[in-house]
């Protein structure tokens, strides 16, 4: 992560409500300004993550999302709009984010995470937020995050339920510890409300902010699960898997002090 830079008056005016958060202040805001976050896909989850990070004053977003806006995006993908139907999602998302925060620097790639781009995109970020629907993409991002020792926030949803956890390579379970193989029953299209993906997207954005600003206690080695049917939330400890082929040899992570 780069050294913290001072805030200017315009930035103080925008962020004055959060500058008063105990333990955050100008130091925390400056850390956000100097930080770069990779968000993999900008759908119901990632779009909300990116929007909240843009609002919070993150300095740079690295965004990866392929395809064009289709009608079925619009129940949950809050960065996409009716006006942009048929046009590239990445361009729509970039435009929306810059409307909110014109100071934001964006590197936008109109494709999803793949073998050809994963190492470079992870290398450009201080923190990664994995919001992809396909486990092949998620495993690839996990592998690169562990290899480059980058913290990664994992978030997911299904129907009215959602999960979030934060991975510090070498200190916490990685995604392959939790899910050692591609789940055969998982399908690309699954039932979900936008309010559910949005809720977990906000939590994931908060995890990224906490990691960057050294604020509070990230979900390290813990999985937060919630069910909006009953509004039941629970947190459970999770374990590294002995002999994990991805993180078995990893120790420590730059933002975790490990």
């Amino acid at each position: 992560m780069s050294a913290s830079g001072p805030l200017n008056e315009a930035e103080r005016a925008v962020y004055e409500w959060q500058l008063d958060v105990p333990g955050f202040g100008e130091e925390g805001q400056s850390r956000l300004k100097e930080a770069s976050v990779l968000v993999s896909r900008l759908g119901g989850l990632g779009g909300v993550v990116a929007y909240e990070l843009a609002a919070a004053g993150i300095g740079r977003l690295v965004l990866a999302h392929g395809g064009e806006v289709v009608p079925s995006d619009l129940n949950r993908q809050l960065l996409m709009t009716h006006e942009w139907l048929g046009r590239p999602r990445i361009e729509c998302a970039t435009a929306r984010l810059l409307e909110l925060n014109p100071r934001l620097e964006i590197e936008a790639l109109g494709e999803n995470i793949n073998e050809g781009n994963a190492a470079r995109l992870v290398g450009e970020a201080d923190v990664i937020v994995d919001c992809a629907p396909l486990f092949a993409e998620r495993f690839l991002l996990n592998r690169e995050a562990v290899r480059q020792s980058k913290p990664m926030v994992e978030c997911a949803m299904y129907e009215l339920e959602a999960h979030v956890t934060t991975i510090l390579p070498g200190r916490t379970p990685c995604l392959a510890c939790l899910f050692p193989s591609d789940p055969p029953a998982w399908r690309r299209k699954f039932p979900v409300f936008g309010a559910v993906s949005g809720a977990v997207g906000c939590l994931a954005a908060m995890e990224a902010i906490k990691l960057i600003a050294s604020l509070g206690e990230p979900l390290l080695g813990r999985l937060l699960a919630f069910d909006t049917r009953s509004m039941a939330f629970h947190t459970a400890t999770i374990q590294r898997r002995a002999g994990c082929p991805v993180c078995g040899e990893a120790t420590g992570s730059p933002l975790g002090g490990g």
């Binding site: 997911a156 949803m157 129907e159 999960h163 789940p183 947190t235 400890t237 999770i238």
Partner: protein, 92 residues
């Protein structure tokens, strides 16, 4: 002793209910109760939960009292304990 098992994500849909309370013998393990539960809802539910050798599918997560239970570490149950079992979910 009574054990409550809560189902999450695809398991809940396959079971058609959110939870089931079962009667387990004293000294029963988490693994034994899961193998019993696997037979209650038909093949779709069973295949989400266990492989053909009645071993937990590798990406299914099991929690007891807020801690993950690994299949290879037999975990004794206590009366009135609640288990949570979830299949993997993703973003989108």
């Amino acid at each position: 002793m009574k054990i409550t098992v809560r189902f999450s994500a695809q398991l809940r849909a396959a079971a058609g209910e959110a939870a089931r309370t079962v009667e387990a013998t004293e000294g029963a393990t988490v693994q034994e109760v899961i193998q019993e539960i696997a037979e209650l809802y038909g093949n779709g539910f069973r295949s989400l939960l266990l492989d053909s050798e009645a071993v937990l599918q590798p990406s299914v997560l099991v929690f007891a009292d807020g801690e993950q239970v690994l299949w290879d570490s037999p975990a004794p149950l206590r009366s009135d304990q609640t288990l949570i079992i979830t299949t993997p979910i993703a973003g989108g």
